[in-house]
């Protein structure tokens, strides 16, 4: 199993100082650039420590939000590409449906791959609902734009003999010829996220690494949908390394201390739902059928515990989050068992995207959390043998 350390690089000092929205419309006078600088340096230090501890690194971006100061992920990637030694550098993700210029994206990512000497994993994402009012990208039809940007970036990274022409529905170029070209050929590995089985089947056909967040004990049907189409296309079972799961991790030598850290880290989920209501569901973000169900008041819980109890991940207790496989929390033994149990439920899961810092967790606690995990949990996870799931009929 591979483990990627992840933090949203939050500006937590204002988390209790807002008028119902931490995203999009929280005035930027609330952020002190001096403190922001201190926090960036602290978070980068913790990521450099992760590299030394043998963890990989995941970076992301959000916009206009106190939940995540990283609004231009290429900056964090640039620092990490230069300063880390061994870690894989996963960007999850790059919101390619929002961006104006996929040629620039191909150039940025190829350069990161070159400077890091081939350590980049490229996660392309649709982006959460609140990104649309910020970027002004039309949420209607964004996935058409996403896939054209994706096709373009792949071709731009893997074409080396002569410039090519591109006159698509969304993007137009006359002399595409990316310098430098990426180290990893034909291109760095592609990752993406999903929350539905239709998309999971599509990703299985493409063989990309598929990540889910907060899906807990509702993850298996997504993985099985992927496995079914992967098997059909590639004539072999999908390996565990095709699956990634973002889990919150709080570990300590004693359980009470772990739960204290777990409360802070759960702040990620609790803060992420604090956003002006209309920004949570822009038109076209969800399918019309899903919006119609919401109008009729038929929306179902997204997160379930192992015994099938629906929970709200934004408001659930630490125990709820542990029961739902959203937070792995306890002593090293307990955390190891929780993760293995979850991976067995999944039928194999090869990439733990570990949120080992969030919210108000202090630097000292973060260092202790990452260090203990790396020394006491990760070696056992690396030794643990992944199951190879048969595709189930349920998919």
């Amino acid at each position: 199993m591979q483990v990627y350390q992840f933090t949203e690089q939050p500006y937590y000092p204002v988390w209790n100082d807002h008028s119902g929205s931490l995203r999009v419309n929280l005035p930027s006078r609330k952020i002190d650039p001096k403190i922001a600088g201190d926090l960036f340096h602290r978070y980068y230090d913790e990521l450099l420590l992760s590299d030394e501890l043998g963890l990989n690194i995941m970076l992301n971006e959000h916009h206009q939000t106190a939940t995540c100061m990283s609004s231009t992920v290429i900056v964090g990637l640039s620092v990490m590409a230069r300063q880390t030694k061994k870690a894989r550098l996963l960007v999850l993700g790059y919101p390619i449906g929002h961006r104006l210029d996929p040629l620039r994206e191909a150039e940025e990512l190829a350069t990161i791959d070159v400077i890091s000497r081939g350590r980049l994993d490229m996660g392309f994402i649709k982006g959460v609902p609140y990104e649309f009012p910020a970027s002004n990208q039309n949420p209607v039809g964004v996935m058409d734009r996403f896939w054209e940007a994706h096709d373009f970036i792949i071709k731009a990274m893997s074409s080396h003999d002569e410039p090519f022409n591109w006159e698509g529905e969304f993007f137009h170029y006359r002399q595409v010829n990316v310098w430098p070209r990426p180290v990893q050929q034909p291109h760095p590995p592609i990752w993406t996220t999903t929350g539905n089985r239709t998309q999971a089947r599509l990703l299985g056909e493409k063989g990309y690494v598929m990540a889910t967040l907060g899906s807990g004990y509702a993850t298996r049907p997504l993985y099985d949908a992927y496995r079914q189409s992967y098997q059909a296309k590639w004539r072999k079972p999908a390996p565990a390394d095709r699956f990634a799961y973002l889990g919150l991790v709080a570990v300590a030598e004693d359980e009470a201390e772990a739960r204290r850290r777990g409360e802070f880290i759960a702040g990620y989920l609790r803060s992420s739902s604090i956003v002006h209501l209309p920004f949570r569901n822009p038109p076209g973000f969800l399918a019309a059928e899903d919006n119609a169900r919401m109008l009729r008041g038929e929306s179902a819980p997204r997160s379930f515990t192992k015994d099938g109890r629906g929970i709200n991940m934004h408001h659930g207790s630490v125990q709820d989050l542990i029961d739902a496989g959203i937070l792995f929390c306890g002593t090293p033994d307990q955390v190891y068992k929780q993760i293995v149990e979850f991976c067995e439920y999944c039928g194999g899961m090869g990439n733990l995207l570990m949120m080992g810092h969030a919210g108000f967790l202090s630097h000292e606690d973060t260092v202790a959390n990452l260090t203990l995990f790396a020394k006491e949990v990760m070696p056992r996870l690396k030794e643990w043998k992944q199951p190879v799931a048969e595709v189930t009929a349920a998919a």
């Binding site: 949420p139 039809g141 002006h276 822009p282 076209g284 119609a292 169900r293």
Partner: protein, 273 residues
Amino acid sequence: MSVTTDAIVSIVVNGATIETVDRGQGQPILFLHPGIGIDPAAPVLAELARGGRVIAPSHPGFGGSQLPKGMSSVDDLSYFYLDLLDQLDLRDVLVVGVGLGGWIAAEIAVKNSTRLSRLVMANAVGVKVGDRETRDIVDVWSLMPDEYDTLAYFDPKVGKRDYKNLPEAVSLAAARNREAHARVAWSPYMHNPKLKNRLHRIRIPTLFLWGAADRILSDTYGRGYCAMIAGAKFEPIERAGHYPHIEQPAEFARRVFAFAGTAAKAAPRAQRA
């Protein structure tokens, strides 16, 4: 053309099947609905049908109408309606557009108004009136539903829908309307920057009917838009907001007919009650 109820028909235009209300006799009245769609049972359609043949389609992608591939702008919609006018061979058409429908009507008229006789623009969007840092039109996709109703209606209760107790087709149509509206109006927001410089091509008599309690659009916006079309008249409708055809359907039709010089049939007693 296959009749599915008394008044709702499906027609195929350029391979796309759309739903339309088609009722009444006489001069064709093309009613172009706003972004919230059209209820086939809306009283305004019955009122207008007293003075002509009302054709009130759900725009492509709205309500129960199909979305043809590649249709993503009001420009596309206006060409679709020019095709529809040709296909049905409609002449001397009175075009009545509300909100988004007014924008579509203007885009039709600047392209080709040979089949049109008159134009009614009711609380229409489509142009930019203020400077680049002034939002002419309230961002409807940043509002809470209650806030929206308060700004859009003279009587906010009129905007309420209890989807739990309505057929599923109603909530699905509402969801499709919201999506289809954003598809064509998200950005540039509710307008075409090119349209202003094309409005001089509208040479048919034009009336701006304006629900006076509209707080999605201002009176200034309406009068400014009106001033861009040579000879266009501006008339407020009281006790109505952004959707005067919903809040004052009889008065709305009366103003349309007065403008068009139409002698409308009296309403049947039952309908008036």
